[in-house]
Symmetry: C2
Subunit: 244 residues, 2 copies
DNA sequence: CCAAAAGTGTTGGCCCTACACCCATGG
DNA sequence: CCATGGGTGTAGGGCCAACACTTTTGG
């Protein structure tokens, strides 16, 4: 079936995507929020990056579009984690007005699909054509529209489960060469708990897909830390074994 | 905001619910499928119990409505597990025609939300006002409309994860008094693997929320098995501790 | 030589796995 | 008395948690 150009470009005003892009920033678990200006008060408000889907767009595709519009990134692993569809999501008139303005469509009810990613966004990307964005600590969020606060809370629970099952996510998040401390600290912040450094080292060294390099940190005023790297190929072999 | 009677009764033809009701039947993991008659060929076909949602209906609410229409049950624990929204879900014209007929609405694209339950449905319930239903083994499904085969496959993966996290689900599935064998067999069928009986007993007896009773099976031509029961109160105490 | 962070080993507990035989009951 | 399935114990391995000191480096 050929699609008319029109249907490819038409929004489907019943289903939206919201992306919870998490990252560690300033020693805190943070979520990327986009800015919008309240038409009435002129104040700056924040929301999750999101969008209605297009008539002929797959959900995953729409999620990647939102990710890209918000961050410029393309190759981050996104995971659908939950659908939010309470009819009173759109009970706040201000939120609906804003959305009708932005989409030029009459908005009734909207079901939104939540996506999740762990992503490193350089500061440089925070001013995108689709609006400014800011990292905000999940423990201390501003008031968010719709049920975005609930969506963030669910995402934080979910990312922990996800990381347990797919550790590769953190390694793609970290730089190619990383120290044990960086990795441990990332876990500590995401799980919001302390991790014993010795046990952590032991475990790290037992992972076949984490390779010690001979390189070390430079210019630190203490014993320099060893760099490790993630071996994708070994990881994939081990994981396809696990899923057999 | 007061809702007009009309909006409460109007279908929202963009989002639907599909319920994957799983159960153990005839020593196999089965899914409940409802029957429909193909208007063209007159043949009996099968599909997941599902429905469009109403304009003012919460997703969970809609899922319980579908459950109840298909089985007469009300108090089963349902879990939202995933949203399916590929635009080519509705690429099969027959499926769309059937749905337009059933709903009396013009159907374009539909995003569906998958719900999952482990439920015991007595045979007596298989003829409901909303159509006949049948248990069919998930390992040997007939051709299903839309992407229902994919939805079932995802649900089967998901129920295993869910049971790992919330064992109470199985206990509500079994009769109040159950034998170790019944429980073990249920796990074996759901996980599609053998479980060592001795280790299973050991584990069962270590669970504080599973209580040995003094009652035993009657009328079996071998040593009679002890009945156990599930202690909801103890279970809840332990689980609220875990989630702190 | 001092401050700061990196790195390292052992123990005990818990849970899982593997594995073989005797027990109670009905027919 | 036999066929059927119910019930039990032990040993080894893996994983996790707890815990304190020595090493390296820059300033």
């Amino acid at each position: 079936m050929l699609l008319s150009r029109k249907s490819k470009e038409m929004l489907y005003p019943h289903v939206s995507i919201d992306c919870v892009l998490l990252g560690v920033y300033d020693e805190q678990l943070c979520v990327l929020l986009t800015e919008r200006t309240n038409a009435g008060t002129g104040k700056t408000e924040y929301k999750l990056p999101g969008s209605l889907i297009y008539e002929e767009e797959d959900l995953d595709e729409a999620a990647y579009r939102v990710l890209n519009e918000a961050t410029g990134l393309k190759r981050v692993r996104l995971k659908q984690f939950r659908c939010f569809g309470s009819p009173d999501r759109t009970s706040n008139k201000e939120d609906v007005l804003w959305l009708e303005n932005a989409s030029k469509l009459k908005i009734g009810r909207i079901v939104t699909v939540g996506y999740l990613a762990l992503c490193k966004v350089r500061k440089i990307m925070l001013e995108e054509k689709y609006g400014k964005a800011q990292w905000m600590p999940v423990a201390n969020l501003p008031r968010l529209p719709f049920d975005h606060e609930k969506i963030v809370a669910e995402a934080v629970k979910e990312i922990r489960v996800w990381l347990d099952m797919e550790p590769s996510i953190v390694f793609h998040y970290l730089p190619t060469l990383f120290t044990a401390y960086q990795l441990r600290r990332t876990y500590e912040i995401i799980y919001d708990k302390n991790i014993d450094a010795r046990n952590f080292h032991k475990k790290l060294n037992s992972l076949e897909y984490v390779i010690q390099t001979e390189e070390t940190e430079k210019g630190v005023s203490h014993r320099s830390a060893r760099f490790y790297r993630f071996d994708k190929v070994k990881y994939k072999k081990l994981h396809s074994k696990l899923n057999n």
